[in-house]
Structures are given as structure tokens and as C-alpha cells.
């Protein structure tokens, strides 16, 4: 029997599906059966792109001022009650993705497997794999309840590949009465502008951590990133300390990056951080503590003071 009807919740940013969403559509296509994609907002503008990656249908939820999570989950539940029967629902591990899957999980009385990096379908058995302990151990978990199976995936688990399909058919789905759960309203939307390559798409990422000592020293990270045509990143510690915006954060709760070169300056390598960058092709670490876990995964480790190494490195690169 296997899986014949798959739903994917796609996160849309700046009018296009995110790459994290397109990789899920790509993976869903390989699992067999039909792929329908849910989006919060306008469906027509993304139907072409989603169709190209293998979606045959787009369910578009006009959520108005509601928070997208509760609105989309309720619309999904109403659609299932109306007769649709997805076998598997896939979510990106994004802010909206988490809200939708959590709400839907309760509405359907189904568990949701999160932080997955792979999914396997063998007959009626569906299993998802999750890295734990900073990626040192891989745990495979099999769903034991009935369908629909709910699973969420970390970004960059699969490669997005277009299959050249036609634009997906768009079906508008209205938001059912949300009752008390629908009383939270979005009153303003703020977009934080960034320049240079995007953190999760850059070929080179230079990240700074608490070892920089004070926020003014983060300027060295930005300078080095610019010289290498890369993006500046940060550990959770200095984001929490307010040195840089949250959008700079690399790690479990931030961005997952897989650049050609990752430079970690003054970052010890907490599990939180490592899961967000250990997929980088080459890692350079500079840290004054030679016992720092980051050296365990670095291709080139410099045991030294970032305040001494970075200025010299910047000077050498500027002189080229």
C-alpha cells in the first residue's frame, strides 16, 4: 500500500517558497504518490515554482491577521474532516512550520517527529531519522499510530531538484472558526534588512562568539566576512547578549549553514551551535581554549587569541 497522498507545508518568504520547503517537495515526490502543498497566503504566485518541483496541487489559506500556524492547522483539519486523507504531512522546521505541526498534532491526536534529517517508507512502515547529541548519534523512529504521519525536517536535509512539472492547481481553503485560539492577531510586520549574501546560502560564513569579548569586536567578523565575500554569523551566546540580531544566529535554534568554508572565531562549539554548522565542507576554528569542542571537528584549528589572529588575517587579506 505504502504512501499515496503526501502533504507538504511550505514556508513562503519574499513571495517565493523557501529552499527548505522545495527540498521537502522534492523528497515527497520520490516517496511516490501525489504531492499537495499547503501555503499560508497567496497560492497563485507560488503555484508555478511548486509545480516545477513536483506538487500537483496547492492549498492556499488566506489567514488574514491570524497567526499562520493556528489558521493553517485548522484549515488542514477541516479538509481532512471533509474527506481528504493524507498519509504523510511534512513540515520544514521553521517558525510557522512548528506552530502548524504542533496544533495539527493535537487536533489529529498524532505524534509529530521533529528535527528529522531523513525519512524512509517501507510498505506501511514510515520511519524518520533524527541526529542527537550534536549529530554524533542518529536515532531512527518508526510511527506506530495510524496515518496521517506528521514529520518535521531540519533545513538542508535533502537537495531541492526541479522535475519540470506544470504549475500546480490552486485550491483556496478558508479558515474555520478558530474560537479563542484565533484571538491573537498580527498588527505589524517587520522585515530586517541584510546586505551581502544570505547566511544560509553564502559560500563562506564567518561567525563570532563570546570569545570576542565585547560587542564592538564583532566588527572584525563583519570585515572578514566582507573580504571573503561571505556572510557574518553568530553563536547563540552573543545573540542572547544582544550584540547582533537573531537573524545572524547559526545553530539549532538559528540557521543551518553548509558553506564551503566556515570560520568560527571565539566559539567554543556548544552542541547548540555545532548542529547548525558541522555540515560545512571546511571548518576553520580560532579559540584560545585548546580543549574547546570546536577543535574536534575543525579542519584547521588555531589555538590562539582572536584579538591577535583576526587583525593580522584581515590585514593580510586586505593587502592582496
Amino acid at each position: 500500500m505504502g504512501i499515496s497522498n503526501i502533504w507538504v507545508f511550505a514556508q513562503v518568504a519574499n513571495g517565493a517558497p523557501t529552499s527548505g520547503s522545495l527540498e521537502l517537495v522534492t523528497k515527497a515526490r520520490t516517496l511516490g504518490g501525489s504531492v499537495s502543498v499547503w501555503v499560508a497566503g497567496d497560492g497563485a504566485s507560488v503555484a508555478g515554482a511548486l509545480g516545477e518541483y513536483g506538487a500537483s496541487k496547492v492549498f492556499a489559506v488566506d489567514y488574514g491577521q491570524n497567526l499562520a500556524g493556528v489558521a493553517v492547522a485548522s484549515a488542514m483539519k477541516a479538509t481532512i474532516d471533509g474527506g481528504e486523507s493524507p498519509d504523510l504531512v511534512m513540515f520544514p522546521q521553521s517558525y510557522e512550520g512548528r506552530d502548524v505541526m504542533a496544533r495539527l498534532s493535537v487536533k489529529l491526536g498524532r505524534t509529530v517527529l521533529t528535527n528529522s534529517v531523513d525519512i524512509e517508507v517501507a510498505g506501511d512502515s514510515v520511519s524518520a531519522t533524527t541526529p542527537i547529541f550534536g549529530g554524533n548519534t542518529l536515532v531512527t523512529t518508526t510511527f506506530t499510530g495510524g496515518a496521517p504521519y506528521l514529520a518535521a525536517f531540519r533545513p538542508k536535509s535533502f537537495n531541492p531538484e526541479a522535475s519540470g512539472g506544470a504549475a500546480a492547481a490552486v485550491q483556496a481553503v478558508s479558515v474555520p472558526d478558530l474560537g479563542a485560539t484565533g484571538t491573537a492577531k498580527v498588527t505589524a510586520v517587520h522585515v530586517e534588512e541584510t546586505t551581502g549574501p544570505k547566511l544560509d546560502e553564502a559560500n563562506v560564513v564567518v561567525s563570532g562568539g563570546r570569545g570576542l569579548g565585547e560587542s564592538a569586536n564583532y566588527a572584525m567578523i563583519e570585515t572578514l566576512a566582507k573580504l571573503l565575500k561571505g556572510a557574518p554569523g553568530a553563536s547563540r551566546a552573543i545573540v542572547d547578549a544582544g550584540w547582533v540580531p537573531y537573524s545572524y544566529q547559526v545553530g539549532q535554534t538559528g540557521k543551518v549553514v553548509k558553506p564551503s568554508v566556515y570560520i568560527a572565531a571565539g566559539i567554543s562549539g556548544a552542541t547548540q551551535h555545532m548542529v547548525g554548522m558541522k555540515g560545512s565542507k571546511n571548518i576553520i576554528a580560532i579559540n584560545k581554549d585548546k580543549e574547546a569542542p570546536i577543535f574536534g571537528i575543525a579542519d584547521l584549528g588555531i589555538v590562539g587569541d582572536v584579538h591577535k589572529v583576526l587583525p593580522k588575517l584581515i590585514e593580510a587579506l586586505q593587502g592582496r
Binding site: 504542533a102 520511519s127 484571538t183 558541522k278
Partner: protein, 275 residues
């Protein structure tokens, strides 16, 4: 007095006190690497547990909101094995008033959905609250779905990933983190929020607070006391089928800086044709 002002005064009185419940997790010290119990494939939770640092922000936020409201109290709910209260005592020492601890061997293997049902029942045992606060995710299991599942079980509106929170005239105003920036959200109470780390600066418990915490009430209950069944492995819609070691990433060259190691980095980058 204009009608508008009347309304404001009424609201101010109505919200003179505020009760907040914070969901806290007691976890193994993250400084010690975690391990899986080979027989059960669950995270080992033996030994001393501590308050998850992620939850200290929620406790602090709750204490500040109750202060700002001019009255009310902060209560805690937690689920932990072996009647563990060390982490709860830390939160009580910060200023929380009381706690419900759900401790039951039957809960081992519970999935996030069951955890949300248990916490919801514990919250109802406390009579509910104006606001429920959780961290965005725990530092050990980091499933990250429990807060929103909890809101759905309780039938409450929610603002997850709140990075700035205020209560004005009985209405919650929060800045919610998004992929591209943040949204301003308003929400009537009662409601649930999950707060990001760094949203406030958690206070250190005072000596007086630590002493007082020893005698603060912790109501210990089982899943059966809360009327939640089935739980544990039996209630989980999932089963661990395999545990494997990931391909280890080998460490490369590690060298002590002698003032010239920047040259090594330049050579390395040249080799990769990045420069």
C-alpha cells in the same frame, strides 16, 4: 468622566493582579554530555537535574509581569522522574510561589503530545492562569512543539517565539520572531507564550530566596492523579527502531598561535580557491 476613561479604569482594576504559570524542565547538566539508556533508548535522566537555562528566562519574565501588574503569583509545572525537585527549587528561589511536579515511572518514553497533555492537566490542577509561559524548546530534547501543543490542548491563543513581551490593559503585546524579522502581535488573556532565550536577564536567586524555596509547596502527582492515560511508550505514537553512530567528522590540524598562524589560514583559503 468620559466613557473611554471609565473603560480604562475598569480594565486597570480588573487586571490589578496577574497569575502566571511557567512550564519548566529539569534536565541533566548540559556541561556533561548526554547519553542514551541502552535498554530503553530514552535520554538518561538519572543523577542530579538542573533547571533548564532556557526556562530561567520564562521564570524571570513571569516574575516581572506579576510585579508590573502589582500582584498575583508565579506557579510552576514540571514533569520529571524520581521526584526530582532540584531544578524547581532554583525557580522557586528566584521567586515562584509553588509548583506541581508530575513524577511517574509510567511517563518514561512519553512523546511530546503526551507531555503537552500532562502539562495541560497540571495547569488545570492549579486552576489555570492569565498567562502560561514556556521556553521555545528544551536544551536536551529540543522537540520544540510542546508549547504550541499545550496551547491547543488548553484551547488558548498563543504567541510562540516571543522576543519582547508586555501586558497593557489586560492585553498581551509581543514581538514574535519570524524568518525575515518579527511580527507585532496582540492577544487577549488568557494566553500562552513561548519566549526566546535572552528576552530578559534572569535574576540570580538570593540567599534568602534559596532558604525560602526549601519550604515552598511542591504538589507531587502521578499521571493517574491527573487522569491522563495512556502515557509513556504505550501512549506514544512512535517507537525507536534504530540507534547508530553518525559518521564522525575527523579533526584536522590544530596548532598553537605563535603570531604567524594567520598565514596558515591564508594558505588554507588559497588551497580552497576562496581567495
Amino acid at each position: 468622566m468620559s466613557e473611554g476613561l471609565c473603560e480604562t479604569v475598569h480594565k486597570a482594576q480588573e487586571w490589578r493582579t496577574m497569575n502566571v504559570i511557567v512550564c519548566v524542565k529539569q534536565i541533566p547538566d548540559p556541561a556533561n554530555p548526554g547519553a542514551l539508556d541502552a535498554s530503553s533508548n530514552t535520554l538518561k535522566r538519572e543523577g542530579k537535574l538542573i533547571l533548564d537555562e532556557s526556562d530561567s528566562y520564562g521564570v524571570e519574565m513571569a516574575l516581572q509581569l506579576v510585579d508590573a501588574a502589582g500582584g498575583g503569583e508565579v506557579s510552576l509545572v514540571s514533569m520529571a522522574p524520581n521526584s526530582e525537585t532540584a531544578g524547581l527549587r532554583t525557580a522557586l528561589a528566584m521567586g515562584a510561589t509553588k509548583a506541581v511536579l508530575v513524577s511517574d515511572p509510567a511517563l518514561q518514553g512519553s512523546d511530546a503530545l503526551t507531555t503537552a497533555k500532562i502539562l495541560a492537566a497540571a495547569i488545570q490542577r492549579l486552576g489555570g492562569a492569565d498567562l502560561i509561559i514556556a521556553a521555545t524548546e528544551s536544551s536536551d530534547g529540543y522537540t520544540g512543539t510542546v508549547p504550541e501543543q499545550l496551547a491547543e490542548v488548553l484551547g488558548l491563543p498563543s504567541v510562540t517565539f516571543s522576543k519582547k513581551v508586555a501586558i497593557e490593559g489586560g492585553v498581551l503585546k509581543a514581538d514574535r520572531q519570524t524568518e525575515d524579522g518579527y511580527d507585532e502581535v496582540t492577544c487577549p488573556l488568557p494566553a500562552l507564550i513561548s519566549v526566546t532565550a535572552g528576552v530578559v536577564e534572569p535574576r540570580y536567586p538570593s540567599f534568602k530566596g534559596i532558604m525560602a524555596a526549601k519550604s515552598k509547596p511542591v504538589d507531587e502527582v502521578t499521571a493517574a492523579d491527573l487522569g491522563v492515560t495512556p502515557v509513556g511508550w504505550a501512549g506514544a505514537g512512535q517507537q525507536i527502531s534504530n540507534v547508530a553512530q553518525a559518521e564522525a567528522r575527523a579533526a584536522g590540524e590544530v596548532i598553537e598561535d605563535d603570531g604567524e598562524t594567520f598565514g596558515k589560514i591564508v594558505t588554507f583559503l588559497e588551497g580552497l580557491k576562496v581567495i
